[in-house]
Subunit: 387 residues, 2 copies
């Protein structure tokens, strides 16, 4: 048993379902908060549970550098290490190598890169990226890919896509040969709870830049290799948002409807609703957590930049239509004061609210899909009852 | 009604009681966590409630500078501003002016000082310090005093003590004339709940440096002015700990037994137990919160410097004898990883544990006093059942 995907409801492109992972069920479409180094910055795990988070994303690149995959493996994997019993997804490290390293060197074998922490030299191949992700032990792990830069010409885009396809095959082969090594399998925790030994699920990643034909080819050939789920990578890399949407729509058309579809690295609250409407099942983005740390808060009445002096004596809650623990207790004036005073609590409270807003948004999207109200999505989701 | 102090149990010097404030009951002896600018750094108020915090300390000096007392007054006072319905104590600002300002200028009228934030010039007098503390609206406020530096010669110590006594009279006069201006009285919240309008309680502060006779005189003359509670100030300013204890013991002997005694700015876990044994009812210190932010954690098995590599793969809880939410969930390895990775969650979790340790310690001290086991205090409090 690695992963089961149940599609419960579908209306037009949009669909609602459930991912059954070795660490619990995940209702889809789902937004996955990012816990880069095994922590959603400023928010304890018990608060994430309270928010209803069913799956977290953690970054292989960061965890590989600190605390190191050996440490996490010896601690029984990420779930035990970070005391998070629910589902986890790790990326392959490819995107961070791409975005944090100007000096990376890519060959067919893999990528040589320098640590952003201390400048030390490291090497990731499909095999070593799988080895790292098996050691981390997330429920869903990702094939090692090259994220094609934007813009890129036709020849470069094809070459990059071909590389990703070769690496997908190598990722799958290594994973199939080594998947029994997942630390929680050795620990026997999951094995006792399920009739057959539980393993991780490896997803493939579709590349192909901004070229419809290459996206179609990448999708078809990735599906041919065969994975329990498919990600759309190489987007949100600087291209216009209209183009992102166009490529998402074009790529989804070539993905099997019975497998989960994961759009990597998006988006704003409006965008995640839109992508769910197009049939995306999983998304992740640093936006809600990173924006919170900069005092940018998402509310049912629009964005609030809490640092502004206009909120200094505003006794109202951040979002009168939000039921999160921050909006239930604190005023805009207090949140503004914490931010203006560089108090560390500002980060925690702001992040809890923004995550709550994202998770509530997806909850209402799932509800609308289950009611078959796909056509009224955007209006439903964005017009909440006023107090 | 401003404050009632019930002494429930006393064995030898040590005593256990209850402070009844307009914002709830406080069991004594009590350790008050410090929330400098209306936030205990990194810990949300709901977690402080869960820890059993009954009274918080906030700093007038910091709040005066940011967000400003006018803002807090207009928000209904500190309780409403920071969404903390339980008791609050504010200091007078005198100690911060003393410790954060090398360029302060003291006259009989008051103190001119510069903001540590922007260098702007400000002036505190007994009257303006009372005005600020009435606007902030804490349940217990402190007379404006001069904290005598250490070391100081006899003439300087006497002059400083005399100044504090003149300021104590002026503080009391201003307070008596203006106490009806407390913002929650205007708001009527407390007035509705109690038969007579509730007001704040102003405590006097005993100075007198390290001189037994001056301490005795300062105590006698402060008691003559008359306050509902008495603080021992001017300690923990660089003197040896044995001397601190000696002066505490000598000063307590001259304070009335039916009024709460507040020892300002102490101490380590061992010290707060010791001072409670001597008959101190209230204490505050930045040590548990500041040490937490530097990775120094107090446990039943001694101090733990969580940054050390020896904890990198330590799966055990920080303190096996602690029931706080951090020790129930997270391993030393995870806490060490958060600290080493500069994750902001490290501050929050470490602070929750250290506060829990301090509050548990005082809980056990109160229990021991109630059982009349004063003589077995130190051994009782420090020998917990091993798992």
């Amino acid at each position: 048993m690695s992963l089961t995907f149940h599609l419960d409801f579908a209306s037009s492109e949009a669909r609602a379902g459930r991912l059954i992972t070795p660490h619990g069920e995940v209702e889809t479409p789902v937004f996955m908060p990012v816990g880069t180094v095994a922590s959603v910055k400023g928010v304890p795990q018990e608060t994430l549970e309270e928010l209803g988070v069913q799956i977290l994303l953690a970054n292989t690149y960061h965890l590989y550098l600190r605390p190191g995959v050996t440490t996490v493996r010896q601690m029984g994997g990420l779930h035990r290490f970070m005391a998070w019993p629910r589902a986890i997804l790790t990326d392959s490290g490819g995107f961070q190598v791409f975005s944090l390293n100007d000096l990376r060197k890519v060959t067919d074998e893999g990528v040589t890169f320098r640590s952003h922490l201390d400048g030390s030299t490291h090497f990731f191949s499909p095999e070593s990226a799988m080895e790292a992700q098996i050691a981390l032990g997330a429920d869903i792990i990702m094939a090692f890919d090259e994220c094609t830069e934007y813009p890129a010409d036709a020849a470069r885009t094809r070459a990059s896509m071909e590389l990703t396809l070769r690496w997908a095959e190598r990722s799958k082969k290594y994973f199939e040969d080594h998947k029994a090594e997942v630390p929680w399998n050795a620990a026997g925790e999951i094995a006792r709870a399920t009739p057959v030994p539980a393993t991780q699920a490896l997803f493939g990643i579709v590349q192909g830049g901004m070229d419809h034909k290459l996206r179609r080819e990448s999708a078809a050939r990735t599906v041919e290799i065969g994975f329990p789920g498919y990600a759309i990578g190489g987007l949100s890399v600087g291209e216009p948002r209209a183009l992102t949407r166009e490529i998402v729509e074009a790529t989804i058309a070539h993905l099997p409807s019975d497998k989960p579809r994961y759009l990597m690295g998006v988006g704003t609250p409006e965008e995640i609703v839109d992508y769910a409407c197009l049939g995306v099942d999983m998304m992740d983005c640093v936006l809600p957590t990173r924006a919170a740390r900069h005092g940018l808060l998402f509310t049912s009445e629009g964005k609030v930049s809490i640092k502004q002096a206009r909120y200094a004596q505003d006794e109202t809650p951040l979002d009168p239509n939000c039921g999160c623990r921050v909006c239930r207790r604190y005023s805009r004036a207090y949140l503004r004061h914490l931010y203006a005073s560089n108090e560390v609590l500002a980060q925690g409270l702001n992040t809890v609210h923004n995550l709550s807003f994202y998770l509530d948004t997806m909850r209402r999207v799932r509800h609308a899909i289950r009611l078959g109200e796909r056509s009224r999505f955007l209006s439903d989701v964005w017009s909440r009852p006023k107090p």
